[in-house]
Every structure is written in C-alpha cells, then in structure tokens.
C-alpha cells in the first residue's frame, strides 16, 4: 500500500463516519430524501459563494454551501405551509431548480475555472491526497483530511450535547414539544449539520454518493439494533467497512472510488437485509416456518388429548384419519408427526398415535395458554 492509498482510505473512512452520524437521524425522522435535496442544492451555494469571493479553495465556500442547504429546507417547508403541494412533491420541486440555476451559472460564467458539475456530482476521491495542507513549508497531509476531521468533530459535539433532545424529538415529537424543546431549533440544527456534512463530503465523494453514505449504513444498522446509541456506532462501522472495501473494489476494477463505495454500501445492506439475526429475510422465513410446525404440533397434541379416554379414541388416533379430521394433506401430516415425535410429544406405533406424559402436559399447557 502506498502512502496515497492509505490516505485515501483514511479520508474515505472519515467521510463515511461523518455522514453516518446525521444520517441515523435522517433515517429515523423519515427525512432521508432531504439529504438528496440538500446535496444537490449546495451546488448553487458553492457557485454563489465563489462569485462573491473568487477563491475556489476558501473555507467560506463551505459556509455558503451550507447556507444554501438550509435555504433548501426552508423553501421546502414554505411550500408545505401553502398546502398547495404535498411534501414529497415540494422536495422534488425545489432541489432541481436550485441545482439547475447552479449548473447554468457555471455554464455561463464559470466555465473557465475549475468548478465543473461532474466533480460536484461524482467526486474524485483519487485526487484528494494531491491537495495538501502545508504550513511554513511543512507537509501536514491532505487538506480534505482536516476539513472532514473538523466536520466530524462538529457533528460529534452536536450529537453529544443534544443527544437527549435529539432522541426524544425523534421518537416522540409530542413529548419533546411538551417538555419545552424547540422542535424547530433541533430540526434546523440537524439540517444545518446535514448541509455542512454534505458540503464537506461532496468534495471527496460527490453529491449523490453523500446520499449513499448518509442513508445506506443507517438503514442497515436499523435492521440490526433497537438502541439509538448502538445504531449510531453500527452505522459508523458499516460506513467504514463500505468505504475501505469500496476503495479496494475500485482498485480492482480501476473504477470510480465513490461509486464503488456506494456499491459496497449497497452490498452490505443487501447482506444485512437477507441475514440480519432478527429482521432479515432469512430470519423471518425461518421464524414463520418454525411457527408453522409448532402450531401444527400443538394442534395435533390437543386433538389427541381431546379424544383420550373417549369411545372414538381409536379412530381419532389413526394416522390416516388426521388428514380428514384436521384437513391436512398426507405429506404434511406425516411431517407433523415426525416433528411431534422428535419433540417427544407423542409416540407413533403402527399407524396409531399416543401422547406421551410430556405431550399431555404440553397439550394442556397449550390449551390454557390459548384461553388466557
């Protein structure tokens, strides 16, 4: 691994962690698409700030862009307040306009300078190590390392300071309002955070992949845990895993790094989606099939218990009779009998079924459980 490769991986991991933190709250607050809107709209902010100060590397650009992110949120809310368009339509109306204005401004007035839409939209992480911070002749490392580090610090401070407020207003907005937390303040604080993060990150990974890193790791973490603090940590870990594996995928395929990171994030989500211990597709399917057998076994035990000691016990305990009586197909009945036998509920003796002592208890318990 060369020094540049290590630096790229560090920057990518920083971006992933920084995006994951506000992303968790976006996902929980059902505002994931706001990240899409903000990350597009900041183009206009960057262009306008550039016109104002004529310096492509000024940190003021970040502030201008962050302001335009907050502006997007306010316009969307203003549109919502008119009640003339629905909320999702409002988002879909606002950011294309701001993005278009940005693109047109670049095309008409800024085409000669290094400010091109491709870079904004797609990002080029591979160039990040070449833009270095030097103080008094000393090379202190890539500039974006410091930019992202600062933004990560801001995010961490905000989350730690307002953790309780964010948590309550996210899960119980009514309670938060009743306790006197200003929902507007928290909302705009969070949106400001998303904007600053998006601005910092778009430089490295491009605006659309900011969305990938903000939404995908938290979505995967959401399927793995029920605790907010774990969800934040898990999102950060998943983000870093996607970032580093994405980097190596890009090296392998000789492709765009940011795109590979998004692809890996999607892949991690797919794995979680399929195999998450409690909420994954496989776990759900297994739970369903287990419940099916359990239920059928219980039904059989109760059926046998019902007829124990009655005159028609002999007839009701025949295997062939089950299909008719419980409306089971032949194959299914045999499988249920095998299942029940393996659980020690009954004994299968030449076509006749007999409950064991445990089976009797089990059937009784099922009945009483059912009735309570």
């Amino acid at each position: 691994m060369s020094g540049e490769q290590i630096e790229i991986q560090i920057i990518a991991s920083l971006v992933a962690v920084t995006c994951a933190i506000p992303g968790v709250f976006l996902v929980l607050r059902r505002m994931a698409m706001m990240s899409d809107a903000i990350s597009h709209a900041i183009l206009l902010g960057i262009v306008l700030a550039f016109f104002a100060i004529h310096d492509i590397s000024s940190p003021l650009l970040i502030i201008g862009a962050a302001l335009s992110g907050v502006l997007t949120v306010s316009i969307v809310e203003l549109l919502n307040k008119t009640k003339l368009v629905k909320e999702d339509a409002a988002i879909g109306l606002v950011f294309p306009v701001l993005f278009s204005i940005g693109v047109i401004l670049i095309a008409r007035y800024a085409w000669s300078i290094h400010l091109d839409v491709h870079a904004v939209l797609l990002g080029e992480l591979a160039f990040a190590p070449f833009d270095r911070l030097t103080v008094g002749g000393f090379d202190l490392g890539p500039k974006s390392l410091y930019v992202m580090g600062t933004i990560l610090l801001i995010n961490l401070i905000f989350i730690l300071l307002f953790y309780k407020e964010l948590k309550i207003s996210t899960f119980d907005a009514g309670l938060a309002a009743a306790l006197g937390f200003s929902p507007g303040l928290i909302h705009y604080g969070l949106m400001g955070l998303v904007s600053v993060t998006a601005v910092g990150a778009f430089d490295a990974v491009g605006s659309i992949l900011v969305v990938a890193l903000m939404v995908t790791p938290p979505a995967a973490a959401y399927l793995l845990t029920d605790k907010l603090s774990y969800m934040i940590i898990l999102s950060a870990v998943i983000g870093v895993v996607s970032a580093i594996s994405g980097f190596w995928l890009a090296i392998l395929l000789d492709a765009n790094i940011a795109g590979s990171m998004a692809t890996m994030a999607g892949l991690v989500f797919l794995i979680v989606f399929l195999f998450a211990p409690d909420r994954g597709i496989v776990a759900i399917a297994r739970r369903r099939s287990r419940q099916r057998w359990e239920f059928a076994g219980k039904m059989l035990a109760i059926h046998l218990l019902n007829h124990e000691g009655t005159p028609d016990e002999k007839r009701e305990s025949q295997v062939e009779h089950l299909e008719e009586n419980l409306c089971w197909k032949e194959g299914f009945a045999n499988k249920v009998i095998k299942y029940a036998e393996s659980k020690g509920i009954l004994i299968h003796d030449r076509g006749m079924l007999r409950l064991t002592g445990y089976g009797r208890e089990y059937a009784m318990k099922s009945v009483t459980d059912e009735s309570t």
Binding site: M33, L84, S100, V117, G259, G266, F273, R279
Partner: protein, 379 residues
C-alpha cells in the same frame, strides 16, 4: 431576438426542430404520466427511477456495444423497474420507511452505474461520449431517430394510459374501492409504474438523470393548482410540460452557453411558481384577497353586533354609544374608526354626537340578521 426568425428556425432548422420536438414529446409524456405519480404521493419515485436507470444504460451498452437509443432506453427501463421493485419489497418486508428505501436505492444504483461508466470509459474500443449525455442530458445531440423512438414509446405509454383510464383513476384515488369492484389493483399498479418508468427513460437523453425528476413532478404540480378534475389535470400537465420543453429548447438555442436540460427545468419551475400564485381558487394571490375580504367583512359584522348588544341594555335599539366603549369591546383588533366610517357609508350606523355612534333602522335589521345567522350556524 426576432420572433419571426426564431419561428422560421423552429420549422426549418434541423437541429432546433429536432431538439424542440424531442423536448415537447418529453414534456407531454412526463407531464401526463407524472400526474399519477404526484397524485399517488410518489413524486420522489421518479427521482429514484431516473438515477437507478444509469446502471441499466451502462449494462445495455456493455452487453450490446450499441449506442442506439432504443437499446439504452430499454436497459434504463429494466433497471428503473427493478429499482422500484426492490424499493417496494424493502418497504413491505422490513421496518425501513419509504423515503429511506428511495434514497438508498437511488444512490446505490447510481454509484454502481458510475462504476460501470468508468469501466466503459477505460475500454479501448469505446468512447463514453454517447453514454455521458445520460448524466446531464444533451438535448442538442438529439437525432431525428432518437425523437422518433421517444415519440413511439411515448405514444404507446399514453395510449395505454387512455385504455386503462378508469382503472388508473380508481387506483389513484381509492384503490380499496377498486379492489372491491374486482379490479386487479396489484397488476394495475405494476402497469402504471411501468408507464412512469417509460416516461422517465424517454426523457433521460434530453435532461439527464439528475433533472428528470423535475419533469415528472413539476408539470403535474402546476396543473394540480388549476383544476380538481383528473382529465383536465392530465391535459394541462402535458401542455405545461410541452410548453416548458419547447421554450427551454428555444431559449437555450438562442442564448449561448445555456444548457438545455437545466433551462427546461427552470421554465417548468417558473410555470409552477406562476400557478401557485395565480391559479384561481387555490392560488396564493386569490386566497390572500379572499382572506382580506373576509376579514374586513367579519370586522364590520362584529362592530354591528357590538353596537346592537350594547343597545339592547337600553330600551331603545338605536341608543348611541361612545367610540371609546366600542374600542374597548374590539380590544386589540383596531380599525374601529375605519370600520365605523365604512358602516356609515353603507347607511347602517350614524354619528349622533362627535364621538357617539348609533345603529340606524337598517343597521338594527342587519345586526339581528347576523345574530340569527350566527346562532343558526352555531347549532
């Protein structure tokens, strides 16, 4: 800029005619089908579909090596369709919400598309020029062949929409009712989604994946302000889309360095802003005037009521009362003098002394009516 020469160019200049026609087709198709997306609260689905189409385009190219728009559009449509299916199944099977699923699929598909594009770029046998236009759209590069493809796909989509008119109406407004009537709602949902995918992918070449979502949402949102009926809304939406497409294409051709896609988006957004302000009944300007008129009317009626209830405490309903009392009764509302002057003009009150006011005979009648109506409404 001379209008006549512009019109002349529009008719006889090959490039401009092609671009304008293509943009018009795009506007009509996305406007008409976008109406359903907006009505069904799926505005952002268009955004997700258009971004998700990128890997489809790249794979179609990698597999066939052709840059014919029909092939690429087909790839885009399949990818957009798969993305929609994944979004739906994530929402159905997990606790992940719709917006998160949208944002995730949108960005992951787009990222994957980028990976494929950079791979294509580096292949020695191909330039990516033909594919790059799908990112930001390149209306100027439209060929007559492309426009014909767009027109055919668009006509098929709109014809299908007309065939299923009643069913789609049910699906948009009351799917449960439709299901009880025995319509296959799931199937219709899939058909409508497919049509929207077609509308999106036909426009990708002109405005690009990033801005295509605006062409789905904006014309329909504008049209929604003017009417409450589905038919007129779809017609208006298609008309707005076409208008924006053609005017955007003309503007960008007559002004240098004005990219077509963003210009079309700005045109259609201008139509939205105008509609939100000016549309009769719903528009902000009219509702502002209406509110103002109502406020004025309510204030005058309140003043009459005040005077009447004061007078009731005396035997004579025409008893005069000083302004200061009235001011006290309509505390914090202000405008007492103004209201009295207006009522005097209408002959409902009269000035008894310099500061004292009384109801006229008509005023008493009017006040009784208001109180009676007010009580009636309250019951």
């Amino acid at each position: 800029m001379d209008i006549l020469s512009l019109l002349n160019d529009l008719l006889f200049d090959y490039t401009l005619r092609t671009v304008a026609l293509g943009s018009a087709v795009l506007g009509i198709v996305s406007g008409a089908l976008g109406s359903y997306a907006v009505l069904r609260k799926q505005s952002l689905l268009g955004d997700a579909m258009s971004h998700a189409a990128l890997p489809g385009i790249a794979i179609a190219f990698l597999l066939t090596g052709s840059k014919i728009s029909l092939v690429l559009i087909l790839g885009a449509a399949i990818a957009g369709w798969i993305a929609t299916l994944i979004i739906m199944s994530i929402v159905r099977t997990t606790r992940i919400k719709y917006d998160t699923a949208l944002g995730m699929i949108l960005s992951v598909f787009f990222g994957f598309g980028l990976v494929l594009l950079t791979i294509i770029q580096k292949r020695p046998d191909a330039t990516q020029a033909g594919l790059d236009k799908f990112l930001f759209g390149q209306a100027a590069a439209l060929l007559e062949r492309d426009v014909i493809t767009m027109a055919i796909l668009g006509s098929v989509a709109i014809a299908t929409m007309l065939v299923f008119w009643k069913q789609f109406k049910l699906l948009s407004f009351d799917p449960d009712f439709g299901a009880t009537l025995g319509f296959p709602m799931r199937f219709l949902d899939v058909v409508l989604t497919t049509l929207i995918v077609i509308a999106i992918v036909t426009g990708l070449q002109t405005v690009g994946v990033v801005l295509m979502s605006a062409m789905i949402v904006a014309p329909a949102s504008a049209a929604r302000q003017w009417t409450d009926r589905l038919g007129p809304m779809i017609f208006l939406s298609a008309a707005f889309g076409a208008l924006a497409g053609v005017s955007g294409a003309l503007l960008s051709s007559s002004i240098s360095r004005l990219p077509t896609g963003p210009t079309i988006v700005l045109c259609v957004s201008a139509i939205v802003v105008l509609s939100i302000f000016l549309a009769p009944a719903r528009g902000l300007v009219w509702s502002w005037f209406r509110d103002r008129r109502n406020r004025g009317r309510l204030r005058l009626e309140g003043m009459l009521e005040d005077l009447y209830s004061l007078a009731l405490q005396h035997k004579d309903p025409g008893h005069a009362h000083p302004v200061s009392v009235l001011r006290l009764m309509s505390a914090d509302k202000g405008g007492v003098d103004n209201s009295l002057r207006k009522l005097e003009e209408q002959g409902l009150v009269r000035r008894v002394k310099s500061e004292d006011w009384a109801l006229t005979k008509e005023g008493i009648e009017h006040a009784r009516q208001i109180i009676k109506l007010g009580v009636g409404e309250g019951q």
